[in-house]
């Protein structure tokens, strides 16, 4: 996002987290005098906690049962949240606008059939010819539709089918970096005049033993821990995953003005990078990213997507305090919502947009965080991946 031919406005926000659904609902829950208690399930996947899916009537955004059946919860959640964002922007019924809208999705891999996997593993204990076991079981046990629920780009495909967003369609992958790239790409295209309006975001289903396994192979998860994300670092850190969806409608300022759209805020700058997580290299890289995005701007507050894993989350906090001072109000939303990997950065940008629109900042989400003493006009959003990659954005009031 180098040159800005156009300002990039956030005109629609769709959110689902353990707290429920909707942009306004999230603002109401999160912006009171005191942060809400996080909603966690620490039994089902013990010793890991997850933030669960709230109660949802899928039909409200995915009216056709047939469409719902073609998806599992990751895609349902994304498609549902995308619909919330379109509704919030007031464009859902505008066929001309929707059919030319660019779609940019951050996706992981889709659901497996856990029961089938477990059952095959069970059979495998008494078999040496496991290749043949797979031949016997998989053709009969795999549901054809499950493949489509698995393909990364089929979240975008379902959004096109259900909501008719068909200008263009790209899906980015790579855990947290998928979300960073998605926002960065959509904003860059709008800023450069390559796009006028885009739907961008992602979703994550934390309640999946296969995904928890994927992270735990590298010991990234917090075990038997209920602590908020900064406090968790004292005990070695670790990720607590959270089911969430976050989608934004982004528009070129002129395009939004012409249709009389409301504006939450604008994305003023974004930077992403990846490199060694060794302390000195990380420090240098983060400092350079702050220089490029923040420059001479005054930052009033920080929305952090702190993943929770060591060493990056502790390095992030140190870098933020070094650059912006110990009194800077920093809010790590992952303490409340859990960490929704691909949806992390879209969720952070959405929470910044809500605060800027409401001219107010959130209360501390945990003890280590300082209360805000002024209404924010410029918020830094971070997403430092649990394993690799970092992104930062400055979101400003319009």
């Amino acid at each position: 996002m180098n040159k800005q031919a156009s300002e990039v406005w956030i005109t629609g926000v769709g959110l689902v987290s353990c707290f429920g659904e909707g942009a306004e609902h999230h603002w109401n829950v999160l912006s009171g005098d005191k942060a809400p208690a996080p909603i966690r399930d620490c039994e089902r996947f013990a010793p890991y906690c997850v933030h669960p899916l709230p109660e949802i009537d899928w039909s409200a955004q995915i009216p056709r049962r047939g469409d719902q059946r073609q998806m599992e919860n990751w895609q349902r959640l994304g498609t549902y949240t995308a619909g919330l964002a379109l509704d919030d922007a007031g464009v859902k019924e505008d066929e001309d606008l929707i059919s030319t809208m660019d779609l940019v999705v951050a996706a992981g891999g889709g659901e497996r059939d856990i029961e089938t996997d477990n059952s095959i593993m069970n059979d495998a204990t008494s078999r040496n010819d496991r290749d043949h076991l797979l031949l016997e079981r998989l053709p009969n046990d795999l549901r054809p539709t499950l493949f489509l629920a698995q393909l990364s780009n089929l979240l975008a495909g379902n959004i096109s089918i259900v909501h008719k967003v068909t200008g263009s369609s790209r899906t980015y992958m790579g855990e947290e970096n998928a979300g960073i790239t998605a926002i960065e790409n959509a904003a860059a295209r709008i800023a450069a005049g390559q796009s006028t309006h885009a739907l961008v975001g992602g979703s994550y289903n934390a309640e999946r033993p296969d995904l928890l396994l994927s992270m735990e192979l590298n010991h990234l998860l917090a075990r038997d821990s209920n602590a908020p994300v900064w406090a968790r670092q004292e005990a070695g850190g670790g990720v607590i995953c959270g089911t969430a969806g976050a989608f934004l409608v982004l528009e070129a300022a002129d395009f939004a003005r012409a249709r009389g759209a409301k504006c939450y805020a604008k994305i003023a700058s974004i930077k992403s990078d990846l490199g060694s997580r060794e302390e000195a290299a990380t420090h240098t890289r983060i400092a350079a990213m702050f220089d490029e995005t923040v420059g001479e701007r005054t930052i009033d507050a920080v929305i952090s997507g702190a993943a929770g894993s060591a060493p990056i989350t502790a390095l992030e906090l140190a870098a933020l305090r070094e650059r912006f001072g110990a009194d800077m109000p920093i809010r790590a939303f992952t303490s409340l919502t859990g960490h929704p990997l691909e949806a992390n950065f879209p969720l952070g940008v959405a929470l910044a947009a809500l605060a800027l629109k409401n001219h107010h900042f959130y209360p501390p989400f945990e003890q280590a965080e300082t209360a805000a003493d002024r209404q924010p006009a410029s918020i830094l959003v971070t997403a430092f991946g649990s394993w690799k990659g970092e992104g930062v954005a400055v979101v400003e009031a319009v």
Binding site: M121, R130, L134, P144, L151, G174, A178, L217, N218
Partner: protein, 425 residues
């Protein structure tokens, strides 16, 4: 920017200065081109895993890469590294740095059965299943297994090996991914974000489960008896695609950047068109409008409007529906002229390289222009009378080709069409 470096819309002319390719036909441009122009098929009976009783027992596997293990991520990475090395070397960039970002069309990777079984064996107690796998994971770090199955890993490794700039980007638009990677490079250069971009695509996901999944969608051919004859795009008796592996890498840069550093120019990337389809998860709109729109936008972007191109590198999967839909869409654009534009499907020989297809076929399109040889559509023994096209049947053809339309369509309503040109110099 002086006029000589601008395209018809005043944007920087984008050229290709390095290419690499791996398919079931071999490693590198030379081996692939020799096989492709001699009408050789890379499709054979699968030997990687038993296929007894499966409807489909053939594929275009790449079994010669010495990957660190036999798994989709490992094979995909090995191929991506090989094609990137070939492209970078041709473009004159070493391993010490590339002045632009990486756009990588990434295959779907996840934990595979061999990994699940291995993790299961690490514990002797407890019910087999994910709980037990979790206990194995907790007991010991499995850093390499973790790294292999993260969706961003191949791009991270390629970026690290060749020193590309910024966050390496992994993307998927299913079977259009290879074209999308090139499209992203084009857009970044046109935005002025960079003067150069490395676009790579790779797919080595012929696993037992991967094959069965496609088979359950009835997407694959079941003509197992003569594997080399099974992929028969535009033939009357075509009955599905052949799942295949491959990779391609292309170095894109502005003409000005290439000239200033004295690079040899292999061709131009003239334009790209894209349009998403809302009709169905695996099928195109019956009216063909999204596909037609993607092609039209690509031609307009290239400054060709509806003018005939010299050659069309078809998506041509050999499924009953795709080939008919592709013909109908081309007919809608070019009218009767379509019957005299040569069009061939590389997939008749290499099968469908899925994520990699668009990039692999872009490399072959450039080689077509460079060598003046159009590779044939093989296995064209029983023409489909409803698809009256000049498919360059069975034998290569010498022809001067200056413009190519290369089509890529994917599940999820993905349509991306590249318009490629011969050397501008």
């Amino acid at each position: 920017m002086s006029k000589q470096y601008q395209d018809h819309l005043g944007r920087p002319i984008i050229v290709v200065t390095g290419m690499g390719v791996v398919t079931s036909l071999g490693r590198g441009k030379d081996d692939n081109w020799a096989a492709l122009t001699s009408g050789t098929s890379g499709i054979r009976k699968i030997s990687r895993f038993p296929t007894d009783g499966l409807n489909t027992e053939i594929a275009g596997t790449v079994d010669f890469m010495n990957a660190e293990e036999v798994s989709a991520p490992a094979i995909s990475y090995a191929m991506a590294d090989a094609t990137t090395e070939e492209a970078m070397s041709q473009a004159g960039f070493g391993r010490d740095g590339f002045p632009g970002p990486l756009y990588f069309a990434a295959p779907p990777v996840e934990l595979e059965w061999q990994h699940r079984f291995a993790l299961m064996e690490e514990q002797t107690q407890g019910e087999p299943g994910y709980d037990r796998l979790h206990r194995s994971a907790r007991a010991d770090k499995h850093e390499n297994m973790h790294s292999l199955i993260q969706l961003g890993t191949i791009a991270y490794r390629i970026a690290d090996n060749y020193g590309t700039k910024g966050l390496p980007i992994s993307l998927s638009t299913a079977c259009a991914s290879g074209a999308t990677a090139i499209q992203q490079g084009i857009e970044a250069i046109r935005r002025g974000d960079t003067q150069a971009a490395l676009c790579v695509a790779s797919d080595g996901s012929v696993t037992c489960e991967g094959l069965i999944r496609f088979s359950l969608l009835s997407a694959l051919t079941t003509q197992n008896e003569k594997p080399e004859k099974a992929s028969k795009p535009f033939s009357k008796d075509r009955d599905g695609f052949v799942m295949s592996e491959g990779s391609a890498a292309l170095v894109l840069e502005t003409l000005e950047h290439a000239k200033n550093r004295g690079a040899r120019i292999l061709g131009t990337v003239m334009g790209v068109g894209e349009k998403a389809d809302k009709f169905h998860r695996t099928r195109s709109s019956p009216d063909g409008v999204p596909v037609i729109t993607a092609m039209r936008e690509g031609l307009a972007d290239a400054g060709l409007e509806d003018k005939p191109v010299d050659y069309i590198n078809a998506h041509g999967t050999s499924t009953p529906e795709n080939d008919r839909m592709e013909y109908n869409s081309l007919k809608a654009i070019f009218g009767d002229a379509i019957e005299s534009i040569p069009i061939s499907s590389n997939k008749s020989m290499i099968g469908h390289t899925l994520t990699a297809g668009g990039a692999v076929e872009a490399v072959f399109s450039f080689l077509t222009m460079q060598t003046g040889t159009i590779p044939p559509t093989i296995n064209y023994d029983n023409p489909d009378p409803d698809i009256p096209l000049d498919v360059v049947p069975n034998v290569k053809r010498d022809a001067q080709v200056n413009t190519v339309l290369s089509n890529s369509f994917g599940f999820g309503g993905q349509n991306a069409c590249l318009v490629l040109g011969a050397d501008v110099a």
